[in-house]
Amino acid sequence: MLIIGIDGATWKIIDPNLQRLPTFRRLKEEAICSTITLHQKPWSPSVWCSMFSGKTPEEHGHKDFVENGRIVRREDIHVDFIWDLLHKQGISVKVLNIPFVIPPYCFNVRFEAVAHGLPIEESELLEEIQRVTEKALEILENDKPEVFIVVYTALDRLSHLHWGEPILVDYYEKIDTALGKLIPYDDEIIIISDHGFCAYDEAPIRTLPKKTPKGEIKGDHHPDAILITKNINYVINQPEDVFYCLKEKYLVPSNK
């Protein structure tokens, strides 16, 4: 199974720009596309953590990238992630660039994230998409794991400071191209975002300050995340369901 996370991706940008996004356009025809309206706060560290631990923020306790002035690490989060469980069962699994911690987490993969997983400048954003895609292709081509999970962070970082600007669609195009390269490698696919985005003043839940040292925040997180599934026989209503989807397919003994 191939799971591609796109931090901050939203139908608000994809749908009106389908003519420029041929992979999304094809997925709209060939896959099941829907919206996940989060029950939890649209906040990347806790949502990605929920998605792959199967636990709510109250259960996993991971609320932020930094707590008490200290950058939180994987070891501080006392849960088994799906890759831990799959690996213990001898199922080949690789995980690339999951941004629930900084730098983004990898499992069975050696990868140095661009700007520690916080690309902001245009050159860094481009480099992230390029390097994550190259590494993902290397894994899919050579290692062929049964389960591969990869996340792109660039759209989230860009949406904070450039929501509403044409440059954002340019980067959706780059992600669209990257998706087009990855999805031929698997028949069972989940493409998902941890939250959506919207104009800062339209956010139903304010998660970000209006101004930062980098300038004005133009976009804020929105509870509506994207979900695209292909050949996935499991109903995904919330991020935690991705964990249970994988668990049911690979870890629950079949009664047949």
Partner: protein, 68 residues
């Protein structure tokens, strides 16, 4: 978990047999798996450790994006 066979020198095997006597390890294989997992874990963890300077850079970027 699926397992694969590997060969190690007989002398090394004997040394490990001696070493695990009286320990909680019940077999040479168990000891070798433990040692290798510990080494790989250390390597993985060392990649994620940021220097104090890098931590400050990360915090500045988090502030720039409004995360902190």
């Amino acid at each position: 978990m699926q397992k694969k066979n590997i060969a190690i020198p007989a002398e090394l095997y004997a040394q490990i047999e001696e070493r695990i006597k009286g320990t909680e390890f019940t077999s040479v294989e168990e000891y070798i798996v433990f040692v290798l997992e510990e080494i790989l874990k250390e390597e993985d963890e060392s990649e994620d450790i940021l220097t104090p300077e890098e931590e400050e850079q990360v915090k500045e970027r988090l502030k720039g994006l409004g995360y902190l």
